[in-house]
Subunit: 190 residues, 4 copies
DNA sequence: GATGAATGAGTGTTCATTCAT
DNA sequence: CATGAATGAACACTCATTCAT
């Protein structure tokens, strides 16, 4: 029998990301994605159970990679500020190197498909980061406030600033990134 | 000559907001909106040139109202921190009183229709606020950094914290709102 | 506004009957029926809620007409045998004049759509006939046996004999019909 | 040289009957039948030329078995009524013991695939029965009428009465079966 | 012989929009 | 102004069958 073609799966992954970035989630129909991947629409249903599965799987795939990239060289023994700064740099680095993958996750996060993701599983990738914030609170280095508030100031700015639609004047150079991190730190530090 | 029916237009506005909130942007077809508004699909094309126009107009309409609400009792003579805090409170107040309208704008902001909005025109509503920040910079009260960075820390947290999908642990009570503002202020203040 | 086109509905009815007879229920897709009726597939959904509705409605429509035709000149005061014979003749007459409509009902009766019909409502059309049989039993003219058995010998032979696929040697001439009725009568009479 | 796997063929036969009975002819796709039989869809095309062949072969297979079962203990020297009664009892016995196989033939008989069966070959299995009727006619025991009429009253009632969809009040007990046979006999006897 | 991958053609249905009144 | 009828194009998905191994 024929063997599952590794190339086809990768081709589908790339086509999905590319098309969603180009024309958006709504307009990205199964047949258009198939055409972009040079594959029959029916073939998609060999690799994924349905459209939802294709999109969610693509998202989860990317998100896990981001998790790995962000936690690269993670060293919990460093000062808290240094740990968080490293995370920022890693994240911006990832976005700079894979703008298309990042853009896909941004679009996905705001699509109705987002609700179908197993959030708990994904959050595991980011648990070490949460623990850092908690340690900071215990050590009276970080403000002891509602965790949603902390997260909003520590993490969302990265996504907002990296989103070209929202911030088209922000250059992702070293100086700007460091400045932005300084504001985030000033926000949460005691 | 008959006049365009004010009531019908309002009915369409409400139907659009309600349906998009209930079933999402993708599922909100012209005929469903028409049915929700007790109007023929064809009638929509009397008041709006097409579906896009209907949605964009609805968005712009809300956004301008938000602008007014936020600038209510705007007093440029107050201390800068007080001005900004008043803006925060006004914004949260609006979101609390019109959760459906706010939810619509959130959904719209992440739909492909968003790109069709004349951003410059909308930003006029928020110009006074921008001037406040600029004054703060001149007076060495606020950090002199890229404006996108300032905006990210001063304004987006409101939307993130108010978005139930993103922050389901954040209660919009007075204490939390004040705490959140304090973080925003700590971020941008010199 | 445009008015619902009586011609279109009739055209759809005819196309449905014709196509189902020609290529069978399974192969009769919505788009093929639409093409046969010179109508857009979407138009079908104005007149019927879905394919099932189209087929079931067509069937019920025919079945009610058959009911009327069979009970034409129904006279309960006649001798029981004469009443039943009249029904036979009426039924064969209908089948002879509308072979396509009859064929459709035969095909429908053996399709899965059959289960979707409100049987009770349809049986109302045939209630007078049932009462005749019951009267015959009471008057000791007809055998007092399970009603399914009576019906099987009194009514189904008409359909079997009229079904070209099952009986291709049976000519629907007066003599044959009378002979067949004689057998049915011999079967059920005491 | 490898031989066609007897087990696989049987497995396919059972799967076909089971699935068609469970979900109907229309929904029984080749791949579903393959899955039910724990076999690859491609394997079916080793044993049968196509889907049609699979279904028709399954039908003919069953039909021939029915023929054998019905003619079990066939004794042409008995009185004609006794011969026919024995056939009735054999048939009802078969249906009682193999309701699934019988149900399959009923479904098949009303599917478009039915037209593809070589009827003449099948009728050979039932030739002895036909001869009995002819002998009855010659001996002035059975009415000398069109053969389709005789067959309609002698054989079809069995199928009608055994079909749960058509007759849900008929219990296949000895008394009912004998009563039904009596009506059939009354119909055809002189 | 046996298989799962692969596919073009098809399914029922909904869409944004226009037409005729 | 207002409408429901009408539609071609598109949708997600499944089909019977063939291919490469």
């Amino acid at each position: 029998m024929r063997v599952k073609d590794e190339f086809k799966q990768e081709s589908l992954f790339n086509a999905t990301v590319k098309l969603v970035n180009k024309i958006g989630f709504v307009a990205s129909s199964v047949s258009k994605i198939a055409k972009e991947a040079n594959v029959s629409p029916a073939t998609i249903y060999i690799y994924y159970t349905n459209k939802e599965d294709l999109l969610v799987s693509t998202y989860v795939n990317i998100k896990k990679n981001i998790g790995k990239a962000v936690l690269n060289d993670f060293d919990p023994s460093l000062p808290i500020r240094d740990i968080l700064k490293k995370l920022w740099l890693n994240m911006f680095d990832y976005i700079t190197r894979h703008p298309d993958l990042f853009q896909f996750t941004e679009q996905f996060s705001n699509s109705p498909y987002c609700d179908l993701v197993n959030k708990e599983e994904l959050e595991k990738s980011f648990e070490p980061i949460i623990k850092v914030l908690q340690k900071g609170i215990e050590q009276k280095i970080i403000k002891d406030v509602n965790f949603d508030i902390l997260a909003t100031f520590m993490f969302y700015p990265i996504f907002v600033l990296s989103n070209a639609r929202l911030c088209n004047n922000f250059q992702k150079n070293e100086k700007n990134i460091e400045t932005a991190f300084q504001l985030a730190w000033d926000a949460i530090k005691l």
